[in-house]
Symmetry: C2
Subunit: 337 residues, 2 copies
DNA sequence: CTGTTAGCGCTTTCAA
DNA sequence: TTGAAAGCGCTAACAG
């Protein structure tokens, strides 16, 4: 009998529905004999608790929503994996939401998630104002936000120190003896990742180096942007022996372009990226990069969320800084001069 | 007032809860004035229908489950994206389930999905027996299965012609004049993808060519497997000028190994993979491969599922063959002899 | 130690 | 054209 209900079990085991519920949830003592009868009935009828009914009653859906710009992007695919993994272990199911980096779709999804009464939401949001998540928090839904200033909201905010990212990557190049270091900047000054450029500047300043503006093209954050940025670098006719790119995708695009123009990496130009996307390991040469946690970040977010959802953490915003670290691979080497 | 219910709306608009429901769902005529009052109340109270309660009543959760081995694998990440996209458009939310290619976790997830009363499930299953999905189908849940013999189950089965895959890739090499073609075989003869080897053989036979067993190593389906397989090929000391690898990951591993041993691709050895994973475009040289649809396959599966879930398709198994096509990139070239 | 029962928020039948 | 009310399957307060 598929779709048996608690009533069917109760009848078959000759107990009340309450007893069945208590046996299932171990939420109060039930005598061994009765427990046994109930369990037998459950097995015989192939009974499976109705999660929807349970949610309605208990006001807990054991579901969390994950909003990312695009799960097909390996960076977010890794994160989603971490979220799902930790969620599964903690008994939560995850609803995958791709916002496509479009505000409207993000808001639509928030609506859906609120309707479905998810217990928590993890935001990797690009276009949303922080104020737009206020209703979510006020509905009592546990919330984690990545790479954003949480304002005064009671959420868990996971961030990386983007200045440090820029600083680490650039200092690596400086330590290798590079003096003329170019920088491929992020798509927009409004992005949190733009602070990587500040770190770049800081490292240069410390070493009394300078980077002329033509050696600081902006890219669209994707491979094609790196291609175009590298072309601009070459067009500038200014000397450079190294590039710090604000992310791996642009670093890879730049690498291709330089090679197409007869430059050898890293002999002629060293390149550093940021993110450690999957691709980075497999380019030729493999890309030196400033890594940030992905699957682990997802896992961590779930842990924090679970604490909130299960009442083990009551209130107050938390800020968590994610660890970054430089991974030296083949795309960087000593300056030849 | 967050968390307003239909009752609150009814009171505020001075109508019955039934009327509110009818207005929300447009499921029967309601006079303009009343409709208006209800809509105003909804707006003022910030009412949001309670999806859980609705599901309990209507027996439709507007949720589908997606089971893949690993969403961090770009192949499945693309598929998940397609599923989510089509799902969103059709008004369904998707629960992401990674099975890790482990039977136990797959079965656990099926249990969870059944408990949550999803309307449909899409399986990209590796370890499950087809019989294990029978309960799912019998519970009346719309089901799509990829790359598997559906047996006599009433499901939609999406498949690719793996023999053709092997045949196309290999014939491409033969047409380029290669005579000594090696083959990196899949991890196990039990996998559907093993039929690619049959296609490989078929193409060779047609051209009266032959491939000695030492030139047919098996790999673990991942990059590391390709590395080891290529080492075996070199160890065999048999001549070969081309390789057909049963998937891109192994092709890429082989490419790296050969290059590390001083071979140039494609000058010395041409290589063909299968899948067209994201990486394939960005290797050096870019990989020639037999592509199969990913995001589109995901979208298609949802379309079929939606037909079933919404009663527009009543019953009977359907088999859908996915299109494959050869993408020629830089890793293959004419045989030099 | 166990059972009865109200009610979670909604849809839909039945009656008017 | 509208409303009353039953009931989806479950939990938990209350009563015994």
């Amino acid at each position: 009998m598929l779709n048996a209900t608690i009533k069917d079990i109760a009848r078959k085991a000759n107990v009340s529905t309450a007893t069945v519920s208590y046996v299932i949830n171990k939420s109060r003592y039930v005598s061994p004999e009765r427990t046994d009868r109930v369990q037998k009935a459950i097995a015989e009828l192939g009974y499976r608790p109705h999660a929807t009914a349970r949610s309605l009653r208990s006001k807990r859906s054991c579901t969390i929503g994950l909003i990312v710009p695009d799960n097909a992007n390996p960076f977010f695919a890794d994160i989603a994996r971490g979220v799902e993994d930790a969620g599964f272990e903690a008994g939560y199911t995850v609803i995958l939401c791709n916002s496509n980096a479009m505000l409207e779709r993000e808001l639509d999804y928030i609506d859906v998630l609120l309707s479905k009464r998810v217990d928590g939401i993890i935001f990797f949001s690009t276009s949303m104002e922080i104020e737009q998540v206020r209703p979510v928090v006020e509905m009592g839904i546990a919330t984690a936000i990545f790479y954003r200033d949480p304002g005064n909201l009671d959420v868990d905010a996971f961030r990386i120190d983007n200045r440090k990212v820029g600083y680490l990557g650039t200092r690596h190049l400086i330590e290798l003896g590079h003096k003329n270091i170019a920088c491929i900047r992020p798509a927009s000054m409004g992005l949190p990742s733009y602070r990587r450029v500040e770190g770049f500047q800081l490292a240069l300043d410390e070493a009394s180096l300078d980077c002329p503006l033509p050696l600081m093209p902006q890219g669209n954050n994707r491979i094609s942007g790196g291609v175009r940025a590298a072309e601009q670098l070459l067009d500038s006719n200014l000397p450079f022996t190294a590039i710090f790119a604000a992310n791996d995708a642009m670093a890879i695009g730049a690498m291709r372009t330089l090679r197409d123009h007869g430059y050898q990496i890293p002999r002629d130009v060293s390149i550093v990226g940021v993110d450690d996307i999957t691709l980075a390991k497999y380019t030729e040469p493999p890309l030196t990069t400033v890594a940030q946690p992905k699957a682990d970040a997802g896992r961590l977010a779930v842990q924090y969320l679970v604490e909130r959802m299960e009442g083990r953490y009551l209130s107050g915003p938390r800020e968590i800084e994610l660890e970054i670290n430089l991974i030296v691979r083949g795309s960087t080497t000593k300056a030849s001069n």
